[in-house]
C-alpha cells in the first residue's frame, strides 16, 4: 500500500519519475543494502543483531582492491570478496556463539576492528585499478533496464524467502528468536543456527561489497559508512520484530522498495539526502508506534462505549 502510494505521489510530483531508466537507476539505491538486509532479517529474527556489516563491506572491498593490485582477475576478486565476508562472519559467529558474548557489543567491536583494518591497509589512499569486466556486477544490465544488481536482489529475495518460510532451518530461526532456551530443549542447536546466520550475513556483506566496489570502481576505507544503521532501519521497517521471533522476507522487500523509492523520489524533487533521513527516521518510529497507539485508542473507545 505504502509503496503504491509513494509511487503515485512521486509520479505526480516529478514527471521524470516514471522513466524506465530512472527507475532502474533508482534500484541501485537499495539493492546492495537489501542484499544484506535479507540476511540481517534472519539474524534479528533469531534475536541477535549484526552492526559490523558495513565494516565487512569496507574490509572485503579493501581486500579486493589489494588483490586487484596483484593482477587478480574478476573470478579471483569475487572469491576474495565472498571469502573475506565469510571469514568476518565466522569471526563474529565464533565470538557470539562460541564464547557466548552479546552480539550488539561484539559487532560494535568488530565493526571498528574490520573498518580499522581497512584504514590500516589503505590509510588515506584509495584502490581503483579494477579489471574492466569487474564492472559488470555493479554497472551491467541483464537485459534492457534490468540491472544485474536488481536480478541478484530478486534472486536473493526469493532464496531467503524460501529459506525462512519453507525450510526447517527457517522454523528453527523463529524458534530460536522466540525462546532460545525452549528451542535448545527441543533439540535445536541454537549456537549452530546463530553461527550459520552470522556466516550468512558475512557472505551477503561480501556480495554487497562486490556490487558496491564494482559500481563505484574504487575503494576507500570510508566506503559504505553508516550503512549498518540504514540496513537495520530497513529490516525494522519491514516489520521484523527487533526483539526477535517475528517478521517476513516480503516485508523487507517492501521496505527496501519504500526506502529506495522515497530516496529517489525526494532526490528528483531536489530534497537533500539528509532530509530524507529525517523522513526515514520518522517512518521507523511511526511504523512501530502507530499500531501501539491504535490499539490503545481502540481500547479507550471501547471502554467509553461500555460505559
Amino acid at each position: 500500500m505504502v509503496v503504491i502510494a509513494i509511487f503515485i505521489v512521486n509520479s505526480f510530483a516529478s514527471p521524470y519519475f516514471l522513466d524506465a531508466w530512472n527507475l532502474s537507476d533508482a534500484t541501485f539505491n537499495f539493492t546492495e543494502k537489501a542484499l544484506i538486509a535479507f540476511a540481517m532479517a534472519l539474524v534479528i529474527i533469531s534475536g541477535e543483531i549484526d552492526l559490523s556489516v558495513a565494516a565487512i563491506i569496507a574490509l572485503a572491498s579493501t581486500a579486493m582492491g589489494y588483490a586487484a593490485q596483484f593482477g587478480a582477475g574478476t573470478p579471483e576478486l569475487v572469491a576474495v570478496g565472498l571469502g573475506v565476508g565469510l571469514l568476518c562472519g565466522a569471526f563474529n559467529g565464533f565470538l557470539i556463539t562460541g564464547m557466548g558474548l552479546p552480539s550488539i557489543v561484539v559487532t560494535i567491536g568488530t565493526m571498528s576492528l574490520f573498518r580499522g583494518l581497512s584504514y590500516v591497509i589503505l590509510g588515506d589512499k584509495a584502490f581503483n585499478g579494477y579489471p574492466s569486466d569487474f564492472a559488470y556486477f555493479g554497472q551491467g544490465y541483464v537485459f534492457w533496464v534490468i540491472s544485474f544488481e536488481f536480478v541478484l536482489f530478486a534472486v536473493m529475495a526469493v532464496l531467503f524467502g524460501i529459506l525462512l518460510h519453507l525450510t526447517s532451518f527457517g522454523r528453527m530461526v523463529y524458534a530460536v528468536g522466540n525462546n532460545a532456551m525452549a528451542a535448545r530443549f527441543s533439540g535445536i542447536r541454537v549456537g549452530r543456527v546463530k553461527f550459520l546466520l552470522f556466516l550468512m550475513t558475512g557472505v551477503m556483506s561480501g556480495m554487497a561489497a562486490i556490487c558496491l566496489t564494482s559500481r563505484l570502481g574504487s575503494t576507500r576505507p570510508s566506503i559504505a559508512f553508516g550503512w549498518e544503521l540504514e540496513i537495520v532501519t530497513m529490516v525494522v521497517l519491514g516489520g521484523i520484530n527487533i526483539l526477535g521471533g517475528a517478521g517476513t522476507i516480503i516485508g523487507v522487500v517492501l521496505a527496501a522498495f519504500i526506502m529506495g523509492l522515497v530516496t529517489f523520489g525526494f532526490g528528483l524533487m531536489n530534497v537533500p539526502g539528509i532530509v530524507m533521513s529525517i523522513f526515514i527516521g520518522l517512518l521507523l518510529i511511526g511504523v512501530i508506534a502507530l499500531p501501539v497507539l491504535y490499539t490503545r485508542l481502540r481500547r479507550r473507545f471501547r471502554r467509553e462505549q461500555v460505559q
Partner: protein, 373 residues
C-alpha cells in the same frame, strides 16, 4: 585480599591504564609530563561526560544511539543562538544547550516509556531525525569560528588552576554522577531496573519512569557536551561527532558496564573513556599511524566484553552446555544414547540404547566405565 581487589573490573582496568601509560613513558618520558597528561584528559573530557550519560541508560537496560546526534544538534543550537544574538551571555547559551539536550533526551525517554518501543529502534530513528534537524536549521552551512563570539569560544579553553574549564566540567559531571549512581534513589533504581525489571516493579519502582529519567540525564549531558564541543572546536555543522555514539558505547563496555543492564559503575565508565582517550593520544607519540586507532579500539572492545562475560555468566547456560554427553538429538526421534565410545575395542557396545525414560544412573555408570576404564 589482593585477589579480592583484583576481582573488581575497575581496579583491573586502572592497572591496565597505568601499565599502558608506564610502558609509553619508559620510551617517551615526555608523555607523562603533567602538561601532557592534562591535555590528554582534556581531550577525553567530552567522551567522559557522554559515557556517564550513556552509563545511566545502559545500566537501566537501554541504549542511546542518538547521543552523538543530540550533542551535534544541541551544540548547533547554542552556536546559532550565539551567531544570532551575540550579546547573550554564554551561561545562557550553555543553559540553552542543556535544555535542548534534555528535551531531545526526553523525547527518547517518552517513546521508550509511553509507547514501549525498543530503545535501539527509538534512538536509531531519533539519531537520523536529530541530525536531519541540524540540516534544517543550518541549511547545510557551517557555523564557522569567525561568526562565533570570542566569549563563546573562550569558556572551555579558559584555564583555572592549571586545568582547562572543559576538564573541570567533566570532573564536575563525574562527581555528580558518582553521587547519583551510588547515593540517590534514582541511581539505585537504574541498577534495579536493569538487573531485573520484574523484581523492580514489585519493589515499587516504575520501570518506564526510570527509563525516562535515564534518557533525560543522558540527553542533558549530551546537550552540555554539545556546547563544549562546538565551543572548543569552534565549528558547528551537520556531521560533528558523527559516529561518536559508538565510541561512547565502547567506553562503557570497556569500563565494565554490562550491556544487559544492572552491572557497572560510574568510575568504570570514566576509566573506559580514559583508556580510549589514552590510546588515541599515545599512537602518534609512539609513532604508530593514527589509522591503527580504530582497529585497536575494536580489539579492546572485544577483549573487554569477553572479560566481562567471563565474570558474569548466565547460570541457565550450564544446563544447556553438556556437550560432553554428545547426545545426537533429532527433532522427531527421541534422544539416542551413546552406544560406542573411543575407549572400547571395535564392535563392542555398551548395551542397548535406552529410550527417553531409561535408567539414568545405569547410563551414567556406563559412561564412567567407558571414559575411565
Amino acid at each position: 585480599m589482593m585477589a579480592r581487589i583484583f576481582k573488581h573490573r575497575e581496579v583491573l582496568l586502572f592497572v591496565a591504564i597505568l601499565l599502558l601509560v608506564g610502558a609509553i613513558a619508559l620510551r617517551f618520558p615526555g608523555f607523562v609530563a603533567p602538561r601532557n597528561l592534562v591535555s590528554i584528559y582534556n581531550d577525553t573530557a567530552i567522551l567522559i561526560i557522554l559515557a556517564l550519560g550513556q552509563a545511566a541508560v545502559i545500566l537501566s537496560r537501554g541504549i542511546d544511539l542518538s547521543i552523538a546526534a543530540n550533542l551535534a544538534l544541541s551544540g548547533t543550537i547554542a552556536a546559532l543562538l550565539n551567531v544570532a544574538f551575540p550579546d547573550l551571555p554564554v551561561i545562557f547559551l550553555l543553559m540553552a544547550a542543556v535544555v535542548s539536550g534534555s528535551v531531545l533526551g526526553a523525547i527518547n525517554g517518552l517513546l521508550v516509556w509511553r509507547l514501549s518501543i525498543p530503545p535501539i529502534v527509538v534512538t536509531l530513528g531519533t539519531m537520523t531525525i536529530y541530525r536531519g534537524t541540524i540540516f534544517l536549521l543550518t541549511g547545510g552551512a557551517w557555523v564557522n569560528a569567525h561568526e562565533m563570539t570570542d566569549a563563546f569560544k573562550a569558556v572551555p579553553r579558559a584555564v583555572v588552576f592549571g586545568v582547562p574549564v572543559l576538564a573541570w566540567f567533566s570532573l564536575g559531571v563525574i562527581a555528580l554522577m558518582l553521587v547519583l549512581f551510588v547515593k540517590t534513589r534514582l541511581g539505585r533504581a537504574f541498577y534495579a531496573v536493569g538487573g531485573n525489571p520484574h523484581a523492580a516493579v514489585y519493589t515499587g519502582i516504575s520501570v518506564g519512569r526510570t527509563h525516562f529519567f535515564a534518557y533525560l540525564i543522558a540527553g542533558a549531558l549530551a546537550g552540555l557536551a554539545g556546547y563544549l564541543w562546538t565551543a572548543r572546536y569552534a565549528v558547528a555543522y551537520v556531521d560533528i561527532a558523527n559516529g561518536f555514539e559508538l565510541d561512547v558505547v565502547a567506553a562503557c563496555v570497556i569500563g565494565g558496564i554490562s550491556i544487559a543492564g544492572g552491572a557497572g559503575t560510574a568510575i568504570g565508565a570514566v576509566l573506559g573513556a580514559l583508556f580510549l582517550g589514552i590510546i588515541k593520544n599515545a599512537l602518534p607519540v609512539i609513532d604508530v599511524s593514527p589509522f591503527w586507532q580504530m582497529a585497536i579500539s575494536g580489539t579492546v572492545i572485544i577483549i573487554a566484553v569477553a572479560v566481562n562475560a567471563r565474570s558474569a555468566r548466565v547460570k541457565g547456560r550450564v544446563i544447556l552446555k553438556k556437550r560432553s554427553m554428545r547426545y545426537e538429538c533429532q527433532r522427531s526421534a527421541p534422544c539416542a544414547r551413546p552406544t560406542a565410545w573411543p575407549g572400547l575395542p571395535d564392535g563392542e557396545k555398551l548395551g542397548e540404547p535406552a529410550d527417553r525414560g531409561g535408567d539414568r544412573d545405569l547410563h551414567r555408570q556406563q559412561l564412567r566405565l567407558a571414559l575411565f576404564p
